[in-house]
Amino acid sequence: MSETNGKCGCDAEVESPGKRKLLGWIVGVINLGLIAAIVGPVAGFIGSPLARKRKGTWIELANVDDIADGSIEEIPFSIEVKDGYRIAEHKYSVFLRREANSFTAFDPACTHLGCRIKYQQRQHRFICPCHGGVFDDSGNVVSGPPPRSLDTHKLKIEAGKVWLYKEV
């Protein structure tokens, strides 16, 4: 056995199989540690948006008296949002529907894949330009691929005004 070891033909010292196995094992453990040392922090860093807490605020939308009974109006508003490293004024809007004294605020994002719906006054329909989703005045799906009715926002009426709760 010893004479075939190494090119020089001399008696190279042979480690015992046990020692070789142990060393190989330690190298493996060190490598795993190194992988964990780089993957752990980087994954936590990249994944940190998952842990972000959303903050909710009440926003004044409109005067109750300005919204006619039976109408649906698009109301734009904007909020200061912390968008990563920057604080920016983000524009949003909702479709505010009034029926007698009850108000509903539909989110303009289509429930299919998030395109922006439009309200067609004459047909009394919300139309999505992307894949042809159609919703009725109550936000229910009439046709197209959207899986559920339009999302609505929490509202409150205070001092003659409609307030909307928005999480950003």
Partner: protein, 392 residues
């Protein structure tokens, strides 16, 4: 050996010129070319590749891989150039792309090469894949060459998706809103996936930096590794040749096949340059999350998926977003193991050919439907100019 038997009577021997690399290394003053070659072994490598034998029947169809590689090098080069003028922030992205497109000398051309290059890459990649599919070249021992190729295919699509957002115009913004929401349809973890991809709940500054990092760092690194592996495997297992072996002698890659490659490159790259000049890139209006007069549409090669989403009845959208695309991707990846026939002949693997044709037909018809239904821009091809003026 010879030295030991030398006697004064031995004939005078002139040192013979060195022949083995070791002898050459010992030589005092090799020329620069030789000095380099002795260290790099470059010429041997080049020769080996130029002398690679092409089985008879290899010809024009086998030039597509080279064209793809060249298009990728062009894409890489124009991409680096564009990155020198680009800023990945919601304030800067649109302005910097506008600057590139309308102010920097040759900016429109370089961006045009990048945009049309991306389309060309998809077209050539599809043709290359179809050639390998119909020739059955993915069979033993080239299974992994195929698998790596399919991975390259997917990386290219990821390139396209991430690059689309970077100009931060309406088209870019809305295609990304919709595209990222597709991940949201994954059961249970969908919402978290969307946040992870967007870097936030909404598409914003962090989405842009995320996509930019993916587009210029992560994906190029992956692509480079995969292309290297693909080329290595292609050379290791050699070209498969026609399905039915043809009579004749194999010919070396150089010069016949390389000449064909060069001709195809000339045409392929020529077409991209023509398109970049004839149809310069444009820019839509700045991304506006509240803008209503915009119907988002994806890049043409995603129109098949787009149309699939459209025709799905409510409640079945998972089929269009995950299941069908996922099954096609997985089916492509495991194709060499789905197709168990020994022979590469299409007749010997009818059901695979049939499935392939069905998928091609599905994607083809849907893409065509999408292209035909694409509204022509009211202001014509140069709508961006109209947008450009009031914004300055």
């Amino acid at each position: 050996m010879a030295r030991e038997t030398l006697t004064p009577e031995s004939p005078v021997e002139h040192p013979s010129p060195p022949t083995t690399p070791e002898e050459k290394l010992e030589r005092d003053r090799p020329g620069l070319k030789e000095w380099l070659d002795l260290r790099l072994g470059w010429w041997g490598f080049v020769r080996k590749n130029l002398d690679e034998e092409m089985p008879p029947g290899v010809g024009w169809w086998q030039t597509l891989g080279n064209l793809l590689l060249t298009l990728l090098i062009f894409q890489f080069t124009t991409g680096v150039a564009l990155a020198m003028f680009y800023t990945a922030s919601p304030e800067g992205a649109y302005q910097s792309v506008k600057h590139i497109t309308y102010e920097v000398p040759l900016g429109s051309f370089v961006r045009g090469l990048h945009i049309w290059g991306s389309s060309a890459i998809v077209v050539v990649m599809v043709l290359h894949t179809l050639r390998v599919f119909f020739w059955g070249s993915y069979k033993k021992p080239r299974e992994l060459t195929w698998v790596v190729g399919v991975l390259i295919f997917q990386v290219i699509l990821a390139f396209s998706f991430t690059g689309y957002l970077l100009p931060w115009d309406q088209k870019a913004y809305w295609a990304t809103v919709v595209g990222t929401r597709i991940a949201g349809t994954v059961p249970f973890i969908g919402d978290s996936l969307v946040v992870l991809i967007r870097g936030s709940e909404e598409v914003g500054a962090l989405t842009l930096t995320r996509f930019y990092a993916a587009h210029v760092m992560i994906l190029p690194a992956i692509l480079l590794a995969l292309v290297g592996l693909h080329l290595y495997l292609v050379r290791r297992h050699h070209i498969a040749g026609p399905v039915v072996p043809q009579r004749g002698k194999p010919v070396p890659f150089y010069p016949n096949q390389l000449f064909k490659d060069a001709v195809v490159l000339l045409f392929g790259i020529g077409i991209v340059i023509y398109f970049a000049l004839a149809f310069p890139p444009s820019l839509e209006a700045l991304a506006d999350p509240t803008g209503t007069d915009f119907a988002p549409r994806p890049e043409w090669y995603f129109l098949g998926l787009y149309e699939l989403l459209k025709i799905m009845p409510p409640g079945y959208e998972l089929l269009a977003t995950i299941i069908i695309p996922g099954m096609i991707s997985i089916g492509m990846l495991i194709l060499p193991w789905l197709d168990r026939s020994k022979s590469r002949h299409p007749a010997a693997r009818q059901w695979i050919i049939f499935m392939g044709l069905a998928v091609i037909l599905l994607i083809g018809v849907l893409t065509l439907k999408g292209i035909l239904e694409t509204p022509v821009h009211p202001e014509g091809g140069h709508s961006a100019v109209a947008n450009f003026v009031p914004l300055t």
